[in-house]
């Protein structure tokens, strides 16, 4: 395949673009999906509305000038209230500014193509912001931009795309760029439109312990339905730890899960509702599923060569032996300090120093 011209290619497909181009045009989130697919990991089908499409939209509709006018009023130390007002104003502009007919047609065609591939009408999709620029992979931007789950029908998809564009200007993002002296022109935003996997269970998984940094285990947190309730911290998820070397389940703590992210057909979106009582205390994952998640996480960590966290979904139609579906991955945001790393061997002197002569209480006593 040839490298598309970023200024003229409004849409690129996850499975039809090489990872380098995908990152350049589709942002880090979409780029990594392409990359994962290339490395043999199962990812959902979908396309990215490129940074080129975004830039052209801003230029052609006069948004650029209006945004710059609003931002130029803000100083580096602008008070929170002013930043929030500017954010609301800019996001309002994105909502009120329609796409060009040409772009609307292109996106409609792409969405119909996705429906065709899924053999579905008005296939529900996840519309996810996918940031670009040097800082895009930075933890500071994790969760800062908008994501819409379960968007169905082209009108809603187009609205969601414009909302994602606007989320480049959330108050948090604006304040961060002002503080760091980064121009929003340096990090145009792409938007992923991805088939929504009908989730039986989903969750996150870390290739190292996210709190202690121990690299000898994979930690999985999971609940029924979609992963939003977990990512947003709305539900206390089941906690699973798996030995990285031999894949043994080290512990499985079943949580009382009170909230579930479920598809609301009336609204046409995934929303958070009360967990059905009979599911709340039930163990989410069986050993086969745990092992499938762990092997995907191991493969992704090996591919990147550094610790990762991933969001995964077990689709309603997944059968034992099938891979799990990975919807997102990024470098893990916790680094293990040398002190916290698991000891490599039994060293009585080091252990006595650490636990007995450190001036701190011995753990567990």
């Amino acid at each position: 395949m040839t490298s598309p011209d970023p200024t003229t290619t409004p849409v690129i497909w996850v499975d039809e673009t090489d990872p380098t181009t995908a990152i350049e045009l589709g942002g880090s989130k979409m780029g990594r999906l392409s990359e994962l697919l290339r490395s043999g990991v199962q990812v959902p089908d979908g396309f990215a509305v490129t940074t080129g499409a975004y830039l052209r939209h801003c230029a052609e509709t006069g948004l650029d000038a209006k945004i710059d006018a609003i931002i130029s009023r803000l100083g580096e130390q602008a008070p929170e209230a002013e930043v929030e007002a500017a954010s609301a104003e800019i996001r309002g502009l994105f909502v009120d500014t329609p796409m060009s007919d040409e772009l609307t047609t292109t996106l409609t065609d792409a969405y119909e193509e996705l429906c065709l591939r899924a053999v579905d009408v008005n296939v529900p999709v996840a519309v996810r912001s996918s940031a670009t620029g040097e800082d895009a992979a930075d933890a500071s931007f994790a969760g800062i931009f908008d994501t819409y789950l379960g968007v169905s029908g082209i009108e809603r998809v187009l609205d969601a795309v414009r909302n994602c564009w606007g989320s480049l200007f959330t108050a948090r993002a604006l304040a961060y760029r002002l503080r760091k002296g980064i121009s929003h022109h340096a990090m145009p935003i792409a938007v992923g439109v991805i088939e929504l996997i009908h989730a039986r269970a989903s969750g996150v998984a870390f290739s190292v312990h996210p709190v202690t940094g121990k690299a000898d285990r994979i930690v999985i947190e999971t609940s029924w339905g979609w992963g939003e309730a977990i990512v947003q911290g709305l539900v206390d998820p089941d906690h699973v730890e798996v030995g990285k070397a031999d894949g043994r389940v080290l512990r499985y703590d079943v949580a009382h899960k009170r909230i579930v992210s479920a598809f609301d057909f009336a609204v046409g979106a995934v929303t958070e509702i009360d967990m059905p009582a009979k599911l709340a205390d039930r163990q989410v994952l069986d050993s086969e599923q745990i092992s499938a998640i762990a092997s995907a996480v191991r493969a992704i960590e090996e591919h990147y060569g550094h610790p990762v966290d991933v969001e995964w979904v077990i689709g309603r139609h997944r059968r034992a032996g099938d891979p799990v579906c990975i919807v997102q991955t990024r470098p893990v945001t916790v680094t293990s300090s040398a002190e916290e790393a698991a000891p490599a061997a039994y060293d009585p002197v080091a252990l006595a120093q650490k636990y007995l002569f450190s001036g701190k209480p011995i753990p567990g006593r």
Partner: protein, 602 residues
């Protein structure tokens, strides 16, 4: 800001009648023992549970001088402990307070850390030869003393000097082994806890090894079974321990046969004192009533304790605990755990903590006691234990003939007896801690043996401890029990325990073990997962909570209490004063108890 409990009340310069500072002049390594002095509030002092009776002048000398200010300080310097220099001692009346000596110079701590990095692995690699070598050396000296004819030795001062050297050497060996074993064990403990292993399980990994103390208990139980078999159990039932020897003798026949077997038992197991490292209490050989009382206690059990089944259970529980712990560890962690377990099974601290008492703590004071009793005989003293009320230089003066035991010295001893009894009665009011109280301590002996964890350190500072009804401690042996609290000051009061009582005390030691056959639960001020009460509580299936800090203070004799050995919680349900009259009568025997120390020491 650190809480400071003043020591002024005890730093008056007054001590035992006739005490002069030169009486306590003896070699020390870092800090010498003494009565409390002004300025001592800078240290953190804890009331030492080992000597709840109080200590006579000679007993005070032996432990504070040879044990803490030589033994621990010597061992802490030679291992060394990087941030600590051993334990020192002060006296408030007859009661001993210990204090860990911190090393604060960062450069020195670094240098010490380098030294322990060489010495600890060396010790662990050579543990068997080091401990067994030391033990055999002490046993060899012990055999020497057994062979000495005390009555026929002209110069008792020389013999007493030899006894003192044996005692001091025993303390060097004791702490020279204990510190590195504890450092290894607590490092393993910390690693286990950090790897997510339930801390309550860690003690189980090392349980089930036979010790000389358990062997003694088995032999006592065998003697009880033998008494039953010979049809003389009713003799035990109808006589108090101090009457038993005579009663059995009068009974004749099978009872005489039993006494012969009992004496054979004593020749092997009877050379042990009634308390840890206290020259002031007799051995079982000297006072048969102690061992006979234990047999009487064993006979009160409805059935024989199945030691073999208990040992099998302990081993099965150990293997299960290890398997469960390992299954939750990664492969990498299993490698650390397995190596740590192997190291700790080879140099098994919990095992040693029980076993060594037979060779050291219950024995090494006895030659000095014999020497003192022989001297008393020669000097026509009123009591055979008079010499235990002398300080070491005074004792040497009497033994060498420089000063006769009469007049002034004799009346001093009489006054010192009164002083001892006065302070003995005050034991329950003694502050548990004095001086500057830290949040945590680093000396492994304080942590593990005294149970000075952050929680118990907080507990002893609670100004409302007396009225508190819920206590938290270490969950040492699982299960729940309700019953009447019997608050015992020392093992002299073990006879007050009835079947179903809940034992409340500062701490237990090996001579308390048989009591666990009849009590429903146990609560201690001190100790930890591996203290005597914890180990025996698990072995006998008696719910036990240790390291509460203040149980003997908060719980009154006769209170109705609940012990939850699974969570480490002790709850006072009904105070003795609020209970029905019938129960009050039961509690009354506690109130009536008088000082039994005279009969034991005398």
């Amino acid at each position: 800001m650190a809480n400071v409990v003043p020591v002024d009340e005890f730093a008056t310069g007054e001590w035992y009648p006739g005490y002069k500072p030169e009486h306590f002049e003896m070699p020390w390594i870092v800090d010498p023992a003494s009565p409390f002095k002004p300025g001592d509030e800078q240290g953190f002092w804890f009331l030492d549970f080992h000597w709840s009776r109080g200590l006579t002048p000679l007993a005070a000398t032996l432990w504070s001088g040879d044990g803490y200010c030589w033994g621990t300080q010597h061992a802490a310097e030679s291992l060394p402990l990087p941030p600590g220099r051993g334990v020192t001692a002060r006296f408030a009346g007859t009661h001993l307070y210990g204090c860990a000596l911190p090393e604060t110079d960062p450069r020195e701590i670094g240098a010490r850390a380098n030294r322990i990095a060489t010495n600890l692995p060396h010790f662990l690699q050579n543990y068997r030869s080091i401990w067994e070598g030391g033990r055999d050396e002490l046993e060899s000296t012990w055999s020497y003393f057994r062979g000495v004819d005390f009555a026929g030795t002209p110069d008792l001062s020389d013999l007493l000097g030899q006894g003192r050297r044996y005692h001091k050497r025993a303390m060097e060996i004791h702490f020279g082994v204990m510190y590195p074993m504890l450092a290894n064990f607590l490092g393993f403990y910390g690693a286990c806890a950090d790897m997510g292993i339930n801390p309550n399980e860690i003690g189980k990994f090392l349980q089930g090894e036979d010790t000389k103390i358990m062997e003694t208990d088995r032999e006592l139980d065998r003697l009880a079974a033998r008494a039953r078999q010979l049809g003389i159990a009713d003799v035990f039932d109808t006589h108090e321990p101090h009457e038993l020897r005579a009663a059995l003798g009068r009974h004749g026949g099978a009872a005489s046969q039993w006494l012969t077997e009992f004496d054979d038992f004593l020749q092997i197991y009877g050379w042990r004192a009634e308390a840890t490292c206290d020259v002031g209490v007799p051995s079982w050989i000297e006072d048969n009533a102690i061992a006979l009382g234990l047999v009487k206690t064993f006979l009160k059990r409805p059935e024989d304790h199945d030691f073999e089944a208990a040992a099998r259970n302990a081993m099965a529980e150990r293997e299960e605990a290890i398997d469960t712990a390992r299954s939750g560890l990664t492969k990498e962690e299993q490698a650390v755990f397995d190596a740590g377990l192997e190291s700790n099974q080879a140099a098994n601290f919990p095992w040693w903590q029980d076993d060594h008492n037979y060779y050291i703590d219950l024995k090494v004071m006895l030659p000095l006691r014999w020497g003192c009793q022989e001297l008393a005989r020669r000097e026509n003293a009123d009591n055979k234990d008079d010499m235990l009320y002398l300080f070491w230089p005074e004792l040497m003066d009497v033994a060498s003939g420089r000063k006769p035991y009469q007049g002034e010295l004799k009346s001093l001893v009489a006054e010192r007896r009164q002083y001892f009894d006065h302070w003995h009665a005050k034991r329950s009011e003694m502050p548990k801690v004095l001086g500057t109280i830290p949040e945590a301590v680093e000396d492994p002996i304080l942590i593990e043996i005294f149970g000075l964890n952050p929680q118990s350190i907080r507990a002893v500072q609670n100004p409302d401890a007396k009225s508190q009804t819920v206590l938290q401690g270490v969950a040492a042996a699982k299960g729940t029990a309700r019953g009447t609290a019997r608050v015992l000051q020392s093992s002299d009061e073990l006879h007050r325990l009835e079947p179903g009582s809940i034992l409340v005390c500062e701490s237990t030691s090996p001579n308390w073990t048989p009591a666990f056959g009849k009590i429903a639960g146990a609560v201690c001020d001190g100790g930890g997962m591996l203290s005597h009460a914890a180990i025996v509580g698990r072995e006998y299936g008696v719910p036990t909570v240790t390291a509460t800090g203040v149980a003997t203070f908060s719980i009154g004799d006769g209170d109705e209490i609940e012990v939850d050995g699974t969570t480490g919680t002790v709850t006072v349900l009904t105070k003795a004063a609020d209970r029905a009259p019938a129960s009050e009568a039961a509690a009354g025997d506690g109130a009536q108890r008088s000082s039994t120390i005279g009969s034991v020491v005398g």
